[in-house]
Structure formats: structure tokens, C-alpha cells
């Protein structure tokens, strides 16, 4: 049997924690901090690596949903109309998240210039809803970094990928 990715990450963490880190001069603060961060990154990677594909797929799906909401509601002056047309073109390409995101950005800026009031209200709502969901998903993804101010409120990565949703704001 070949050594698995999980096993090798586990080996790396053990070697760094038990051999390399204790051997670093306590006076070398940069080297010690870097070693600790390598261990931290490996611990994060250990719980993320085999879930990266579904995580990215869900992120792209959420972005497409935002793009569709905006493209179908867009109304306003020439800048908004033109940006909405470009967004529809980007939505036709299924896997290009960067191009889709750029097209959404352009429509947000265009709406700020000449979007109809009704559309702008819908855009505000849609972007905030997408932002809230995506920020929550990314907080779950990186909860292991210890930097989240409210980690106890977050589900596991598996629960999130399984369809769990953030609590509704009060």
C-alpha cells in the first residue's frame, strides 16, 4: 500500500513538532515562528485537501447564482445595460470564475453610476446575501487558524459542504 497524503502530512507535522522545532535556537524568533506557522498551515491543509474541489465548486455555484440574479434584474442607463450584457456572456462560460467575478464587478460599478433605483436596491440585497454566505463558508474553511472571533458558532467543513447554512441574522 502506498503512503497516503494524510499519512505524509501527519508525518510532516510530527517531524516538525518533535524534531525540527525543538532544535531551533530559542533566540531565533523568526525561525521559530516560521516553523510554527508551517505546522499550522499543514494542520489546516490536512483537513482541507480532500475537500478543496467541492468547496471551490460550491463557491463558483454561489457566484454564478449571484451573477444570474444581477443579470436578470439589471436596469438602468447605458453603462448598466452594457455591463449586464457582458455579465450574461460571462455566465455562458461555465467554469471561468475569474471572468465571471470581473463581469459582476463591472456591473456593480456601472450600477453605481447609472443603475435604476429599483435595480440598485436588488443589487445591494443580492451582493450582501452572497457576501454573507461566502464569508461564512470561508470562515468555516479556515476556522482552524484560530483567528475567527466566534469559532464556536461555526459548523464543521463536512457539515458546511453537506448543506448547512448560516443562521439568519437577528
Amino acid at each position: 500500500m502506498l503512503p497516503s497524503i494524510e499519512l505524509r502530512i501527519q508525518n510532516l507535522i510530527k517531524a516538525l513538532s518533535q524534531v525540527v522545532l525543538p532544535a531551533i535556537d530559542p533566540g531565533n524568533a523568526l525561525a521559530r515562528e516560521q516553523a510554527q506557522l508551517v505546522i499550522g498551515h499543514l494542520q489546516l491543509i490536512a483537513v482541507q485537501w480532500d475537500k478543496a474541489l467541492p468547496f471551490e465548486a460550491q463557491s463558483l455555484a454561489a457566484l454564478r447564482e449571484l451573477g444570474q440574479r444581477l443579470a436578470s434584474a439589471a436596469e438602468g442607463g447605458s453603462a448598466t445595460v452594457q455591463a449586464a450584457a457582458q455579465l450574461r456572456e460571462a455566465l455562458a462560460v461555465r467554469e471561468d470564475g475569474a471572468a465571471l467575478g470581473s463581469a459582476i464587478d463591472s456591473l456593480i460599478r456601472a450600477a453605481s453610476a447609472d443603475g435604476a433605483a429599483g435595480f440598485r436596491a436588488q443589487l445591494d440585497q443580492a451582493v450582501l446575501e452572497h457576501g454573507a454566505l461566502q464569508a461564512w463558508r470561508e470562515r468555516v474553511w479556515f476556522a482552524g487558524n484560530g483567528l475567527d472571533p466566534d469559532p464556536s458558532a461555526l459548523p464543521s467543513i463536512d457539515e458546511m459542504l453537506g448543506g448547512a447554512r448560516p443562521p439568519r441574522p437577528a
Binding site: 533566540g27 531565533n28 524568533a29 523568526l30 515562528e33 516560521q34 506557522l37 508551517v38 499550522g40 498551515h41 489546516l44 457566484l63 449571484l66 470564475g97 475569474a98 467575478g101 470581473s102 459582476i104 464587478d105 456593480i108 460599478r109 453605481s112 443589487l123 445591494d124 451582493v127 450582501l128 452572497h130 457576501g131 454573507a132 461566502q134 464569508a135 461564512w136 463558508r137 470561508e138 470562515r139 474553511w141 479556515f142 487558524n145 484560530g146 483567528l147 475567527d148 472571533p149 441574522p169
Partner: protein, 378 residues
Amino acid sequence: MEPDDLEPRVRHIFDRKLVRRGTGPYSARTDAEVDRALRRLFAAEGLGGVRIEGLKRMAGGASKEQFAFSLQHDAAPVPERLVLRMDPLESIAETCRLREAQILRAMRGVVPVPRVRFVDPEGEHLGQPGLITTFVSGVTKPTDVDSASVSGVGARFGARWAGRLAPQFLRHLVAIHDFPWRRSDLDAFAAPSAGTRQAAIRQVSWWARVWRDDRTEPVPLITWTECWLREHAPICDEPVVVHGDYRMGNFMFEEPSGEISAVLDWELAHLGDFHADLGWATQRLFGGWDERGGFLVGGLLSREAFLEQYQKLSGRVIDPEKLHYYEVLGAWKCAVMQLGPGVRVPLEGNSHQDLVLTWLASAGSVLLADIVSLMRRK
């Protein structure tokens, strides 16, 4: 075309960054390289009989490389302990050592700050832009409190320390805002016009430029927030010195007295609205929590107490609308920093702290969540 009202010196720093970007990747400087760089600078300054001893890299410094050393020369026979703050090739906060030197000199006697000894704004002698100040003793977090953190983010103070530090934290912030800056040599700064929206717009333009230069993928919420900030920019009645990064981790204090020995990290200082420092200090990312889960500004005191005491000490009246605006701006700036250069700089390999930057960037979504919360609270 979007408005791009940047201070001239800030624009120069960003233009310079893009020119230098392609010359990477960057490696952390060795002690020997720093020793040689210092000798070049001191020779250019005309110092004779230079002795550099005890050169040692300092802990922390996600943004700049920092080294402590002792300097002795013919005109100063008694060794003086100094600190070199030097830019890596690119930084999570691309800023100006000349501005930092000017504001440190201006703040001398106003709040505790290190003395500026030398500055090499373009890195003519050091190889990278750098600033040398006196060494200040103290700690940024109590040694008797467990507060493991990266770059001061997430550190916590206990109640005993908070009782000693909070009054000083407030008093120094008020002193910074009260400082009569028009009488100082701050020619690397461009003051916004009083009674206009320029103070806010310039800050939005600063960080919009960072996002435009450094983003690796679009984030709709960041673009949307930029538009909101431009549309809702408030009038600044009277520009003051804004520290720009007033939070835990950016001041040192003595143990056991708890006396603040230095207010540090002035690299984001600018002339602007006093609400900017309040909106920054109250960010969740820079705070802590008490035993009952209540939020503490700077890990020291409640938001309500912080704002109430600031008003009482300063005589200024906090405008809730402006405070909300600057809280949004603060969260957006942090998100831009962490998701822009926080990813771009390690991608280019252009920092001495690539690992720290990606670690901090992994908390970028906390700031995005904060932006949403702030907008829904409105």
C-alpha cells in the same frame, strides 16, 4: 473613470511598488547583509569609527523587517541601542518610511514614541527603504497572560492589565488627535480640505488602488463596499493626525508598571477624520472578549466605555453616522489588505514573511462578515 484622489507621496509609493514587483522574489535579509547595509548608510551619513554590535532580528513584523543593534561612532562613543525598520520588496501594507519618520518626529513629546536617528526613504544606501529609531523597552502583551497571536491580532489582556492600560490607551489617542499638526514638518503628507469629503475619499482611493494592483481574484463584496464608501463619504470638519493602526499590538508597555513606553507602527498615519481611528480600533479582529463574552476594544474596555471616555477626554462629539462609515471603511481596508497584498505578495514571493501573510489572509473572510454585519446594522 473612478475618482483617484491620492496623496502624491502615496501615489509615488504605489508606483514604485509596481516597478519593483518584477525584481523578486525576496529573501529575508541575513545579519551579514544588514550589517553591510547599515555601514553603507552610516558612511553616507559621514559617521567615522562605526562599531555595530549585537545585531539581532526582532520578533514580529509581518509588514517590515526589523533588527535591533547597538551603534557606536566617533561622535557618539557611548553605544546606543537602535532599531532598523526596513521594507521587504513588497509588504502587506506598502507605506513610506519618510512619512513615518516625519510623523514620529512630530509626535515627540506628544505621546511616547521612539526617536528617529536615520531615514533612507528610497533605500539608496540600505538597498530597501528603511528607518532607524531608538530602541524602546517594553512588551506588546503581558508575559503572564496566555495570548498567543500573529502580529498582535487576537491577543488578549487580563482585567488587571486592562485597568492600567485602558486610560493611557485613550489618553494617547486623544493627544494624537489634539496635536496641532499645521506647525510641523509634514511635507510628505497632503492635508485634505476641511469641510469637504476629501478625507474619506482619499482613504477610499488609497485602498482601492491597493485592491486594483494586488487582487488575485474578484470579490463582489469588496467592489460593492468601495462604491458604497464613495457614495456615502462624510464631510470632515477639521482634519487631525490619524494614527491609522491604533490597536493592541501597536503599543509597548513596561512590566510590571503597565506604563505605555511607545506608540508604534505609524506607517498608516495620515491627516483625516478622528472617527477613522475610532472605527479602526473598534474592529472585532483587533479586540478581545471578557469572561462573559462581551467585546473589548483593544482587549481593554467595552465599546460603549471606549467611545464615552473618548468623548469625555477629547471634548469631541462622536457622530454615529460618521463612526459607522469609518467602521465600514476600517473593515474594508483590513479585508483589502488581507485578501489583496496578503495573497499577492506571497504569490510573488516578495516578502520575508510569506507564511505569516497567507496565515493572516486566511482571516480575510472575518472582515467580509463584519462588513455585512455593519451594513445590516445600519
